[in-house]
Amino acid sequence: MFGFIFRPRKTKSAQTAKDRLQILLAHERGSGPAPDFLPELQREILEVIRRHMKIDKDAVEIKMDRGDEWSSLEINIEFPNKEKDDSDKEADKDEGEDKAKA
């Protein structure tokens, strides 16, 4: 009821801090602190791809960006072109993940 009196006093950086924490903690509470399955996911992806083409074991790059509505998981796989060159390549997948609840 008095909230509106105090709210304007909150500095911008405090609000930023709160927003950042809410996003982070929503993820950490929901699915455990860290995406621990990623090393295994990486291994499995590598295994599947290797059945079909020759790639280096360092060639898989996994990136994640957590947002409050969506997170994205970006998987890049680099592989050499056999002598022919097309531009060198990469497969991309984007996968949305769950929404976070504050």
């Binding site: 500095t11 950086s13 405090a14 930023t16 801090a17 950042r20 996003i23 982070l24 950490e28 455990g32 602190p33 860290a34 995406p35 621990d36 990623l38 090393p39 990486q42 360092d58 790059e61 996994i62 990136k63 994640m64 960006d65 957590r66 947002g67």
Partner: protein, 283 residues
């Protein structure tokens, strides 16, 4: 395209541990500010979080949403170092190696840490190790391979006492201490949360008091400053945030770390109190 790595000259980077014994004195703030400051001065720098289980460097650096793999994954062979390194979005030559939030400090093996540090040494000029509080395994691993140490200390009895204890460990329980004939770790004190007003009122120990007790050189004096909290709120290292006495103090300390001679200065970010504002400033 991939083979130019073989030609790159090895840099043999310097390992600097940011430690303190006591918690809450500003280790992570200082690790973030110093590593960013080194990168701002053009040095290729990586900062590593050794606080396994209580990851926080990622938040202070503002990259918490981009952590995929971590230090422990690399030690255990689940990920490659380059996959775990997070490139700072603001500074070209700054990288962060976050720690795990699920494992515990036993995951830090001496061999594992050494292997990662050796790999980083070939790639980076400065490797900044952000130590956890305490003197247990995490803190010991953070300092073990260090070439230099920054002992973060507040002008307050328990902090000074713990710093003294940590200085003892630096000179006995580290690779440089154990290797016969090796130069000892170069340890310096960074005084943080220094409050000029309270010192003037005799409520806080002075720089000289602290240095007299600890008997090691002074790297810098960082004043108590609202800029520190604001920077951590925003996930920006203090040195990259708006100019403040705290950021200037960190940049001075960074310059000294790289061997430059910079005169010590005592500035303050304190806003004048109510009375001073109403009745005119006195100092």
């Amino acid at each position: 395209m991939t083979s130019n790595l073989t030609q790159k000259p090895k840099v043999q980077g310097k390992i600097i541990v940011i430690t303190s014994g006591k918690g809450g004195v500003g280790k992570t703030t200082s690790a973030a500010a110093i590593s960013a400051g080194l990168a701002q001065r053009g040095h290729k720098t990586v900062v590593i979080d050794f606080d396994v289980g209580l990851r926080n460097l990622d938040m202070i650096m503002g990259c918490e949403r981009r952590v995929v793999f971590d230090f422990i994954n690399v030690i255990q062979g689940d990920a490659r170092l380059k996959q775990a390194l997070i490139k700072d979005k603001r500074l070209e030559n700054l990288f962060i190696l976050p720690t795990s939030q699920t494992r515990d400090k036993d995951a830090l093996t001496k061999e594992g840490v050494e292997k990662v540090l050796n790999e980083l040494r070939d790639e980076f000029e400065y490797i900044v190790c952000d130590s956890p509080a305490g003197i247990e395994r995490g803190a010991q691993m953070a300092m073990y391979f260090a070439d230099e140490a920054v002992v973060v200390t507040n002008p307050e009895v328990s902090s000074v006492r713990d710093s003294d204890r940590v200085l003892g460990l630096l000179s006995s329980k580290t690779a440089r201490a154990e290797r016969p004939g090796a130069e000892p770790i170069k340890a310096q004190v960074l005084l943080t949360r220094y409050d000029v007003q309270r010192i003037a009122r005799g409520e806080m120990m002075t720089v000289d008091d602290v240095l007299e007790i600890l008997a090691v050189p002074l790297l810098g004096i960082v004043p108590e400053s609202p800029a520190v909290l604001r920077a951590s709120n925003e996930g920006v290292p203090v040195t990259m945030d708006e100019p403040s006495a705290a950021s200037a103090a960190y940049m001075d300390a960074v310059a000294r770390l790289t061997g430059e001679e910079v005169e010590m200065r005592l500035a303050s970010d304190k806003r004048p109190g109510l009375f001073q504002r109403l009745f005119g400033r006195t100092g």
